[in-house]
Symmetry: C2
Subunit: 206 residues, 2 copies
């Protein structure tokens, strides 16, 4: 088995272990338990839990990059809606491709909250999370800018529109992670309403 | 000293101890260290750390209720803007009244993230956080509904508008807590832009 496959397995095992045990409960041992590898093999690749989690965040980042490349909806409006579907994990195709179950994904949202709370005190995680933020902000800003240029969207500030849209998506996901329930469905419809009303302009340009 | 004053002091001490040590590092001892009370007096009032933190969340809830009563900006638009200022702690009057420094408040935002992550696994905290959510959602929905009825606002769904607005505020605060920097200022201008464009209607009703 080559190095690439081994790392891929370790990353998926980290995902599962985080979903089961949370960040505070994560150990090299319970990651190893999710693979057919030994704990010492994990240590061969990653010195500490922090190194492994940082590598895991980088891996998630590359997953997101790859997923973003599949967003290609035709019009800027369709593209933005696809992107929101992708981020809120309400995209059926993505769910089919994803290497984890819906239950694991729901639990993982809670883990992401823990990692963000951790990032407030940990520069390594903070840098990783800032990279996600920059990637998404760039992608949304780009779509909005193209829509404004083509006249599909109203003359909004693409940067501000992206900030608000991503803040709303983040708020919806965090609320779901904290409270559970059907917040995602409701939040998604409100976010899409925003797209229709503001970005896509219910009224004339002003 | 009466019971009310003692409890008030314990709550402020809990605020400070949480800001300094985070949720994971919080102990009855480091709360006591923020007062002139003994740890055994704290135990007299609260059996466990969880009991104390639950009481603390209830206390924060009542603070928020009181603050919400001061929001009274004249027009629905002004009221909504005041509410956003209050939630993003960009309200100068509130900051003057608040019994904590800006530094303590910034640190406390990180604690709130930790408490939300904790809430995902702890029904007592979850109920407390849901109460905040319901209080704010009700307040925003009410302002938007009045604005729609009076014709100040466009004919939006007050419930959806409130969901999106609060999700965006939450996303902005979480991002600030995670990444630091000037996200709040930028997020606030984007949220207000939303108010102006969507709720307050840049275009005709549709």
């Amino acid at each position: 088995m080559d190095d690439h496959t081994t790392k891929q397995q370790i990353m998926l095992a980290t995902y599962r272990a985080l979903s089961k045990h949370g960040y505070a409960g994560l150990t090299m041992q319970n990651i190893a338990d999710e693979t057919d590898k030994s704990k010492s093999l994990l240590h061969y690749h990653y010195d500490t839990k922090q190194d492994l989690v940082t590598a895991f965040l980088d891996w998630l980042y590359r997953q997101l990059e790859t997923e973003l490349e599949t967003v290609d909806g035709g019009t800027p409006r369709q593209e933005l809606e696809e992107l929101v579907d992708l981020l809120l994990l309400t995209d059926a195709e993505f769910r089919e491709r994803a290497p984890f179950s819906q239950g694991e994904y729901d639990e993982f949202q809670r883990v992401l909250l823990q990692l963000k709370a951790q990032a407030a005190h940990d520069p390594a995680y903070r840098d990783s999370i800032r990279k996600f933020d920059d990637l998404l902000h760039g992608a949304v800003t780009d779509i909005v800018r193209r829509g404004v240029d083509s006249g599909d969207f109203r003359d909004v500030d693409p940067d501000d529109a992206a900030t608000l849209l991503l803040a709303a998506v983040d708020g919806v996901l965090n609320r779901e992670a904290t409270l559970g329930g059907d917040e995602v469905e409701r939040g998604r419809s409100a976010v899409k309403q925003y797209l229709v009303d503001v970005v896509l302009c219910g009224g004339p340009k002003h």
